[in-house]
Amino acid sequence: MNEIPKTHLIGNAHLDPIWLWRWTEGCGEVLQTFRSALDRLKEYEDFVFTCSSAAYYKWVEDIDPAMFGEIVERVKEGRWVPVNGWWVQPDCNMPSGESFARQALYSQLYYYEKFGRICSTGYNVDSFGHNANLPQLLRQGGMNAYVMMRPGAHENPDVPGTFLWESADGSKVLTYKIPTSYAVHSSGSLDEALALLDETAKKEGHGMMLFYGVGNHGGGPTRGDIEHLLTMMRRDGYSELEFSSPDGFFMELSLGMPDLPVWKDELQHHASGCYSATSLVKMLNRRAENALFASEAFATVANKTAGMQAKTADYKEAWRDVCFNQFHDVLCGCSIMEAYRDVRDSEGHAITISDRLQNEALLRLAHRIDTWVEGVSEPYTETRNQDARFPRPIVVFNPLSFPVKTPVRTYHPSSEVRDADGNAVPFQNVRSSRSNDSHLDTVFLAQIPALGYATYWLKGYDENNAAVLKTDVFAEGLTMENRFIKATFDKRTGAIVSLVDKESGFDYASAEKPVAVPVVIDDRKTDTWAHNVFRFHDVKGGMALQSIELIEAGPVRAVIRTKHSFGQSLLTQDFILGSEQRVLRVKCKARWAEDFTMLKMSFPVTGDNLINTCEIAADYIKRPANGEEEPMQKWTSVSFDNGARRTLALVNDGKYSYDCPGSDLRITLLRNVIFADHYSHRPAADFNFTDEGMQRFEYGISVFDGEAENSRIANEALAFNIRPTAIPESFHKGDMPQRHGFIEVHDDNILMTAFKLCEDGSGDAVMRLYESRGKETHTYVLCDMLDAGFRVDFMPHEIKTFRIDKNGRVSEVNFLEGVVPYYEE
């Protein structure tokens, strides 16, 4: 332990590339700040500058190579210290586990290439909350320490100041919580902060860090600040002061042999409104994450089997856009409205890259499948399948690491669907979204192998000759059911008054306690972040039912449509229950016009010992059902005792927030507050609102016995988000069978989040998997196309990345894919 705890002076500039300005201005801010920092480094020989975010360095490299060269030299000297091996300082609750992997991959490799080193310290000083799996995500990205600031002591007094943070897999990072501000400047504030840090240092017996420099819109340490600190260094009464970096602080802290508290939880809450504000950016983030996963997985398959060129550079470009838009003020929905037009465009750019590459991959693969039918003299290219002589092949692709059985839609009607073995498959002609020709699409029940495809044969539409297969789906009146779920709706309210888990017989709803009830919350008193507000319980009113009807009742699915209104707002929900589906899918369209409101969908349950379990980045977390607004990812749930252990779970395709006051699990669907309304200083204006206008989203309902994490809910949520793609094919010879899976992961609690090519251009494949149920798992993976088959042990919650070479030899690496050496040989 140090006898004289030192205060490490961390010169930095907090740079928000987007917030109350657009990215173009943020880019300029970065260049100006970096120039200033370089000048200060010239002027003060002991001064050290710390800066995060590879995206900023890339801007400077592209726009001002000479200045970038200066930075490279300063990094070599150790006086410019890059921290946070991530592309930006993202929100740390909403990005998926794979996004955090990509934040590290593209940044640390960039740092390694440009500076010959990677960052060892994670650094998200302004991010509003930090998910419980971050220690693992940081360490897998090559970092062993972390700096954060929120929640502050007023928001969560239990969080220690300096501590070891441990995630559920056992990974640990030394963590420093900034007790003052990330941007202390001017002599008065510096004095005040130094006094506080000095006091804390003496109390805790180890050094502290002072983060000084003008921030938010960049700036960095001024001459005045540096001069003032130099003056303070010469004065008595303070602990030793030293220009330093977070890396230096953590090394000295460790060498000081501190007994630090261990924190085994998430770090919440600061801005509880951020996980629901501005639905657009949330939806785009999820869409991009989902699209890139599927696209890259099939592009890798096509590269290995169908001659597709490696597209690592394209995927890097797309992922960098996604990573950039995960910046905390962007993804949290609290930037200015104008910024979201840019966000929409750049996410669109990423998704377009993804979709184009996926399309190439799928068509290349589909073209290798043998779809030849005797009697067809020429490859058939008729797209509408009007000629009923031959059924039409449709190839359905599933990118997930487990097989799926799910309804799939094609944009034309059929009279018969058969699988590759000639077996009749349940199908249903349903109303299309178009008003043209038949007005009908086909929905059929497809079964597709893991990371694979299945070919189905759809016979042309014949109104008088459509085969109907009996399935588990039945609907009548306002009740629908399949083998897992039976749901009955109330004709007066549109809510579900009976929701039976048919496996256990337990009914989750009743007339007294209906579920799927839309509730409008009064949200006038909060700002965009909802600073200092952690509960949203002021009910403004319920939504009135306008209509309810059973609109489909076929063998593949039944659909009940409800329409609700509130003020000038409308909500349409299609409750879709598919054959053999464990999730009752709800397709929503909201035309929202209620200012200062939040829309929640309420699912009250009856029972004791309630606990919420929800997905976080590549893991799950259990939280008390205490009514606080909480972040989530693709699923949340409430488990409780009522005869047995019961669980009601909700999945979603782009929402990130829920609460559970009492026994009422409520997913937050919309939050319509003023853009960038900081502490609600609101001079009169024609305000724009975050969620006004048309909103389209989906959520799903699933019920089962047992604790959520012991179920397949993570698989269901993944399948809800990443759905099969149907490719209409023609007739041709091919060397691949009509049904094939390219990988087998033996245990379905082991989920794949990436299948890609290695960034080093070697052609090696990279596969990332994580354990999703908190269960030690001894499993194996087969991948014939790579001539690879290997066994692997997963500890509970563990993420593993495998690199498979051209000879099928496998090594386990981290997010950096083995491109960065693990140690200096």
């Binding site: 070891l164 042999m257 030690e776 690879a788 090594s811």
Partner: protein, 599 residues
Amino acid sequence: MQSIRLSDVLARVIQIHELTDPAVPAALFSAPQDTGVPFIQEIRYPLPSAKHSYTCFAKTKRAVWMGADNGLTRYEEAPQHEADRVMFFPAERNLADNCVKALYVPDENREEIWALTQTAVAHIILRTLSGEEKAEILTEETLSYVDRHGMVSQKDLTEPRKPASAVPHGHSDNSGTFTAGFAVGELCKYAYYKRTLGPAHEKTVRARASAVRSTEATLLLMYMPCRGNGFVARTYLTPNEPLPDDGLFYRIENGKAVCLDTSQARERGIAGKEIYAGGTIPQRLRHLFEDEGYTLDGLRYKGDTSSDEITHHFLLAYFTHMILGEEDKELDALMITAVKNTLQHIIDNGNRLIECDGEPTTWAKWDKGYFSELLGWSDGCLNAAELLMYHKVVMAISGETGKWKENYDRLVNAEGYAHLTTLHDSRFHISADVSGLEQVEELMYGDNMLATCAYWLLITLEEDEKLKETYRAGYRGWNGTFRREHNPIYDIPYMLSCPDDPVDTQMLADWFRRQDISRVCGSVSIEERRDVPVRYRFGGTKETSWLLMPDERGISKYDRNPYAFISAHNENGTQVLESCYVYTCAYWLGKYYGVIEED
């Protein structure tokens, strides 16, 4: 409490024959070669060799055997135990070389095969045994070939794979540790047989003899230095055994001992130093060397003793008292005196074991000064638990409280040792971080066993519930490194100490089932296996990505990383024979405590 169910314990019985050995069936040489394996694509499971590289195969009733150029694979489509689906037989542990040319099954109803490789022929039989039979076979091998004056650690072999060729000498730096572990197992075996078969049963009588001999041999090390101050020897050599240049050795002669000329003695400046050795060795223990024709004069004992030895001696003291205390009061008294003397030595010397120069030994420091050094800071949590355990054992077996209790309470309260026992995980993490390593890279794997001894006995003997919980919390801090190993010698005491914590009993059963029936070392070709990814740790350590069954990884004591991704040929070759205590101690502990159930 959970239990470990053992059934169908497997044993690989392997003999290597020369190509010209007439015992080799001629049919092996006429077996088809390079034909490939026709059904290989139907196997949907990772295999150790590339599918295209299998060149020969043979079927038994339960399995198919396939040869490739990196070893022999046995695949069972519907195994009773999932861990047995794929078994791999590589050189040099199972084959003379890896290039399998032909296979011959003499009777497909038996799991027996002949494998022709480039340089020799392997005759492999899979035998099904009970856990007890395996323990007996292993014990027999150890007592016949590893035993050295009652101590059991390891022996070199003059001929590969032939235990009978063991050289007569061969000490280990940790003879006391390993023999104590063996003795604990033998004591438990004796107690188990006595309870289930009666004291007069032949097995009981034999077990008692073995337990007493190994206990006496361990105890002798506590008396051997004759310094009169409780100092303990690591091991000793008789005059005809070669002296290695490894550590500090003292030759006893006429009530004196001279520090012999070794590199370490010279470094320490004590080579040639004469010290007091006028203490006496109880007659009860002298027979161990006198029966072999030696006297005390001329014996050379090894010093610079570590906490490993001391901790195992105290573990054995507890079991000796518990199992033999009533029926062998002489041995019990000797043990009690020995541990009291040793603990008094430690206390008198500021919680350190002191060498003849007044300085502490390299690895036996339990003092706060050591704990304030970087190495001792992370080591201190374990060492604190050890020192507290020594006190509890002395009080438990001597029935004395007094100064021991006073000192224990002082350590717990004023010195903060009890709290210190809870800090291992966090301190160890920081220590590893400073070295640029992950915890599993920083770990001295022998520490797992030391932690087991220390925390288990602390939890067993502590009566104060609050303190007991503190020790449990500390024990759990080790679970991160225990639990990935699935080693019953850690998990059985853990199950007894923390009965509500989950343990994977199936993996423990597999551990017992898949131990070989010989402890002849031989490296294995993990690098050649395609079904085993190499895992790179931050510090560059290479591990296997999954825990191989014990019969497919290197043979070792409890002081090696079971995930080690070792190279094809290690320095020991097949000419080292290890003691069996790795298996027998765990097995008999499990039987004694009723944790193991057998069909």
